[in-house]
């Protein structure tokens, strides 16, 4: 079934706006409705903007009156920064999703639901397998923040899937988005001149490039892909390796001090680190994307390292450690050593 009337929530946010712009180019979509609480600042193509809060029952009227058949839920937010605190964030994420799904359930026109979720639902612990597949349960359920919200959102989405088996539900669990223009807690983290890490830990990180993420979302709307899918670039980077590739320096804090440092950073508003992200900085996470490749027939264009390199180059991070200077020093040392050896 191809989508004709598509509703995108969170259209004024970076990914929602980019997706709306992409979907505008799809001629088989007759009507494209973007919903958010503030008007989009970016070009969203032919998207009709409706100012509505998904926490408000008004969303049901929008869906019913426009005969929406495909709902793309993009407004689960990752950081309380900008949302007005954790309480507001939780409300937007959980209550917003409940309202939206309640409206979807009541609307017979809705045939498809695409939800942007996160691999954070797998949690992060020392007992994790190297790569999570979609069928694996987290070793410990995330207890706070974005990850916990996402677990709850996924629960409600599954509930809708049970009550409306005629609705195709596509749940996309994205690894950390990265790219030259996206602004996330993680991109801010890597932009710090001295990157705080947890002393004695070096987590495996996995990224998905924004372009790949949007392509998967676009296909999820245009094609039929029922089920849950991990979306991530191939391979992993170690945190230490990523910091080196970004030309940053790092400083390791012993783990008891980390939550203190984390809350310090939170207060500055510069970087947001909630407790579950601190576990992530110790143990990291990797996911298996076999199911995505098989079902979507899509190979992400960027692997994890490639996506990160595109972020480093695209954001113009200046290298604090310049590899050419290191090489020059190396050559000098080599020449000296050669001289000593011959002397």
């Amino acid at each position: 079934m191809s989508a004709r009337v598509v509703l995108v929530t969170g259209v004024s946010r970076y990914l929602g706006g980019r997706l709306a712009a992409e979907l505008s180019a799809n001629p088989s979509i007759e009507r494209l409705i973007g919903v958010d609480v503030v008007p989009p600042r970016t070009d969203v193509g032919r998207t009709e903007f409706v100012r509505a809060d998904i926490r408000n029952p008004i969303i049901a009227k929008v869906i019913a009156s426009a005969q929406v058949d495909t709902v793309v839920h993009m407004s689960v937010i990752a950081t309380p920064f900008g949302a007005g605190g954790r309480t507001a964030m939780k409300e937007i994420n959980v209550i917003g999703t409940m309202q939206l799904l309640a409206a979807c359930q009541k609307a017979p026109s809705v045939r498809k639901l695409v939800v942007k979720s996160t691999t954070a639902v797998y949690g992060s612990s020392s007992r994790d397998p190297a790569l999570f597949t979609e069928n694996m349960e987290p070793r410990g359920l995330p207890r706070s923040g974005y990850a916990k919200d996402s677990v709850e959102v996924e629960g409600y989405v599954r509930g809708l899937g049970r009550r409306r088996p005629d609705v195709d539900v596509t749940l996309l669990r994205f690894a950390n988005f990265i790219g030259p223009s996206i602004d996330t807690p993680l991109t801010r983290y890597f932009s710090l001149p001295v990157v705080p890490t947890v002393l004695g830990f070096d987590p495996r990180l996995q990224f998905v490039h924004v372009d790949d993420g949007l392509e998967v979302l676009r296909r999820a709307v245009a094609e039929d892909h029922r089920g849950t899918f991990n979306v991530a670039g191939d391979g992993v980077l170690l945190l230490s390796q990523a910091i080196r590739r970004a030309g940053r320096t790092s400083f390791g804090f012993p783990s008891p001090a980390v939550s203190l440092v984390g809350s310090m950073f939170r207060r500055t508003g510069l970087v947001d680190f909630s407790p579950e992200q601190l576990a992530f900085l110790q143990f990291g996470r990797g996911v298996d994307t076999t199911r995505l490749r098989a079902d979507f027939g899509y190979e992400p264009r960027f692997d994890t390292a490639g996506a990160f390199e595109d972020f480093v180059v695209g954001t113009g991070l200046s290298r604090i450690i310049d590899p050419d200077r290191i090489e020059a020093v190396g050559r000098t040392a080599l020449a000296l050593a050669g001289g000593v050896a011959r002397a």
């Binding site: 190297a130 391979g235 170690l238 590739r245």
Partner: protein, 320 residues
């Protein structure tokens, strides 16, 4: 499973930020690195150039990591060279039956565990890399505890270890890796000296089901000599419990001699790889047959125990 590769660096030739090492061959081919001296350079200069190339890769982060966090660059250039003198000079290890380890494809090496500190795992890794014609990397399955400890956790992953769970074991074996498991776990490594060379319970046979599902051969491996490096004569269970550790070892020299007591005794080691037990004929459904799994587990355990007795009889003394 695709190996983690350093793809991003290619196809960026137009970028002014392009780093010189982008043109370099994959990490590990140090001789061809841009800082390599001309061909007539002396051995010392070549070694220096190799070391510099390594340092450069480390500083720029330009090395591959696989999905499990295995850092082959660090392992080959730093970890193995540090362990090698221990293997060659200190424990004078003799590796036998290397022909039983396949040169390619997945296999599961099952070994006895002893010595208070897992030196035996490290030495088996050196044996398979240095003395196997295919220079195989052993991918160790390690206990949960390892991954909770700072410094130890990342070091374990970088040297090729991953969590001992069925998911990881199967994924590695299906990807054609050589996987090592020490099913006795802490019961084996932390057993008192008087019980040396007596195999403990072999877990719940999870390693057998994993090998059955992956359809790879099980290779019993018997290690003699590791029992004597830190003779465990006592334990402080209360302190161990308080610290969340499986045991706090007391050896004749530790903690009596302080840091000097940390020096392992220079026992003479033999590592013998036995005849592979093929599992591909049984098929993955065998993993759901508990009786079959128990029997295979017992067979592996008995083979290792008998080989240990045979090697102990043939050994002239503990230290020579």
């Amino acid at each position: 499973m695709p190996e983690a590769r350093v793809i991003p660096l290619d196809g960026r030739s137009e970028s002014p930020r392009r780093r010189k090492s982008d043109k370099a061959p994959p990490a590990g081919d140090a001789v061809l690195d841009p800082v390599a001296p001309p061909a007539e350079a002396s051995d010392l200069e070549r070694k220096l150039a190799g070391a510099l190339a390594f340092v450069r890769r480390r500083i720029t982060g330009d090395y591959p990591i696989d999905d499990f966090g295995f850092d082959s660059d660090l392992t080959d250039s730093l970890i193995l060279p540090v362990l090698r003198p221990l293997y060659e000079k200190y424990f004078r290890i003799e590796a036998r039956g290397m022909g039983n380890v396949p040169s390619s494809g997945g296999a599961l090496i099952v070994a006895n565990h002893s010595g208070t500190v897992p030196v035996d795992s490290a030495m088996t890794t050196v044996a398979l890399h240095d003395h196997h014609p295919a220079k195989r990397h052993l991918r160790m399955l390690a206990a949960d505890l390892v991954f909770t400890l700072p410094i130890v956790a990342p070091a374990a992953r970088k040297s090729g270890a991953t969590l001992a769970c069925n998911e990881d074991a199967e994924r590695l074996m299906k990807a054609g890796e050589l996987v090592g498991v020490w099913p006795e776990g802490f019961k084996g490594i932390g057993k008192p000296y008087r019980e040396r060379y007596k195999l403990q319970r072999f877990g719940r046979g999870g390693f057998v089901s994993a090998a059955l599902r992956a359809g790879v051969p099980i290779i019993p491996c018997s290690i003699v000599g590791a029992e004597e490096i830190y003779p465990l004569v006592g334990n402080i269970p209360t302190l161990a419990r308080a610290l969340g550790l499986p045991y706090i070892p007391i050896t004749p020299f530790f903690p009596l001699l302080g840091p000097l007591g940390l020096l392992p005794l220079p026992s003479k080691w033999i590592i013998e790889f036995g005849e592979p037990i093929e599992t591909d004929k049984i098929g993955p459904e065998g993993a759901d047959d508990p009786m079959l799994v128990f029997n295979l587990t017992d067979q592996v355990r008995e083979t290792i125990q008998q080989t240990l007795y045979k090697l102990l009889l043939a050994r002239r003394s503990v230290f020579f």
